[in-house]
């Protein structure tokens, strides 16, 4: 009987990195886009931009902490011609520089950057933020023997999740800061409802795409019905999708002011935790292809 085991080397810390890089970039894009929408959005725009750099920086700190030789981390950008990790390092570093400049010249300590210059930095920043969000999926996808990761749907899923958690991080921070729940923030919550619905479709398609090879089917079994199932169903499906979707719908269409703010805070915290768990679920479902020799299939020993 063929026994296939999941990889064990990339776990929560790497999940935290993939998650925070996506969340930070998503919040940044939310902030920049909000900046183009008028005065009503000014505060949300600042919150989004301010969240971008620190979240991604903490995520990179996690990645470096997980390295076997952290002091060599600066070498990671040496082979952009072949390695997605090298390209990602360059993308994320550029994003962090732009994000930090954006914060430093607009929010603190200067505050005197002209709107035109801000727009230029913002547009450049959006390009690299978008690349960061997609890259977290492509990074895993470049590991070809792991069918669960090596699919074009993973960058799509991670991008939607990154956008959604980014929006929720902005909503959460704004709600905690007491921004009134009307107008702009409600619109943001409506946008997140759409993102969450898209995420449901993306995750369904993602699992649909696993069935072609035995290791992909085993990954899906492990995640949907096996050892990882509680984490997937309770952590991602419930916390990450159902609760935020339900609370945001109720918050947008039925509640006002204080009630809406409470619903938004609970929904956002729940959804953000779900986003982290999604990364961990995908990592812990990573199973290498069996080796085939004639009629025999050999499961790779645990790595």
């Amino acid at each position: 009987m063929l026994i296939l085991k999941a990889q064990t080397k990339w776990r929560w810390i790497i999940a935290g990195y993939l998650f925070l890089a996506g969340l930070g970039a998503g919040a940044y894009i939310t902030g920049v886009v909000a900046g183009f929408l008028g005065d009503e959005w000014a505060q949300l725009s600042k919150i989004g931009v301010a969240l971008g750099f620190p979240c991604v920086a903490v995520g990179c700190g996690l990645l470096i902490f997980d390295l076997g030789r952290p002091l060599n981390f600066w070498r990671a950008a040496m082979r952009p011609n072949t390695s997605w990790m090298a390209r990602g390092t360059i993308i994320i570093s550029t994003f962090m520089v732009l994000g930090a400049i954006h914060i430093a010249f607009w929010i603190w300590p200067f505050g005197g950057l002209s709107a035109g210059a801000r727009a230029v930095i913002g547009m450049l920043g959006i390009v690299f933020a978008f690349s960061t969000m997609v890259y977290t999926g492509i990074l895993l996808g470049a590991a070809r023997p792991i069918a669960f990761w090596s699919t074009a749907l993973l960058p799509v899923l991670f991008f939607i999740s990154a956008a959604s958690t980014g929006v929720m991080a902005v909503i959460l921070t704004a709600s905690l800061m007491g921004v009134p729940h009307s107008g702009a923030i409600t619109t943001l919550a409506r946008a997140d409802i759409i993102l969450l619905i898209l995420e449901v479709f993306a995750v369904a398609m993602y699992f649909q795409a696993t069935h072609r090879v035995p290791e992909g089917r085993e990954s899906a079994r492990l995640v949907l019905r096996g050892q990882v199932a509680p984490l997937f169903w309770l952590g991602f499906a419930l916390l990450g999708l159902v609760i935020p979707l339900a609370l945001e719908v109720v918050g947008v269409f039925a509640l006002h002011d204080g009630g809406a703010a409470t619903a938004a805070i609970v929904a956002s915290i729940s959804g953000i935790i779900g986003g982290l768990i999604l990364r961990q679920v995908v990592l812990s479902g990573g199973i290498h292809a069996p080796l085939r020799a004639g009629r025999f299939e050999f499961g790779l020993p645990i790595i």
Partner: protein, 209 residues
């Protein structure tokens, strides 16, 4: 200039694990690291079942997946096709472990003794092995089989080839059409594992009877 390769005859291997153990002895690999591994598989359903061993080494692919994903340039391919890791450049991201289809990349997070219950200092043999390992590799970096290049340069065979009691392993030069491995591959229908990953391994297997 050569392209070093292996031929492993699946019908000769009877699963004694000598290669796995002698590799540890020759390369001082610590607990958790097995560059020359034997894995087994079963097929059929009772009562007509079969068991087969698959002895492995690094495939030293011509198009190595580990080399493609290595972000630091630590992974290199020498003029004989041997893929090596420069321990000073490796940052231990483990991306190569995810990308290698054959499980040839291995990392030890922290060196561990085989005898955790023994009191006092390590016994001299284990202490020696640890010293040799730390000199050449150490913890936290990717390590892999290099077809015992130190031995090959001295005119010896790789340790697992020399030790295999059933002569299932043959080492040689794939570029030389008259080498023993080239003849074996031609005559007995040698094949590569999982060619669908496009890595063009230099290790060939001879089919089960």
């Amino acid at each position: 200039m050569a392209r070093y390769g292996f031929v492993i005859d699946l019908k000769r291997c009877y699963g004694c694990y000598t290669c796995q153990v002698v590799c540890k002895a020759a390369n001082h690999t610590p607990k958790g690291i097995d560059w020359a591994r034997c894995v087994q598989a079963e097929t059929g359903s009772f009562p007509s079942t079969l068991r087969q061993m698959l002895p492995m080494v690094c495939m030293q692919c011509a198009e190595p997946a580990c080399l493609e994903v290595c972000p630091t340039g630590a992974t290199q391919q020498d003029e004989n096709g041997i893929v090596t890791v420069d321990q000073d450049l490796c940052m231990g991201c483990k991306y190569c472990m995810m990308a290698c289809p054959y499980g040839s990349r291995q990392v030890v997070d922290a060196w561990e003794t085989y005898f955790p219950d023994a009191e006092g200092a390590l016994d001299p043999y284990e202490a020696y092995a640890r010293k040799k390992w730390d000199e050449k590799y150490g913890s936290g970096v990717a390590t892999k089989c290099d077809y015992c290049m130190d031995r090959v340069k001295q005119g010896l065979q790789p340790a697992c080839v020399e030790a295999c009691p059933s002569k299932a392993r043959t080492f040689g030069d794939l570029d030389d059409p008259e080498s023993e491995i080239s003849i074996l591959i031609r005559r007995e229908g040698g094949f590569q594992l999982n060619p669908e990953f496009g890595t063009d391994p230099s290790c060939y297997y001879l089919p089960v009877r």
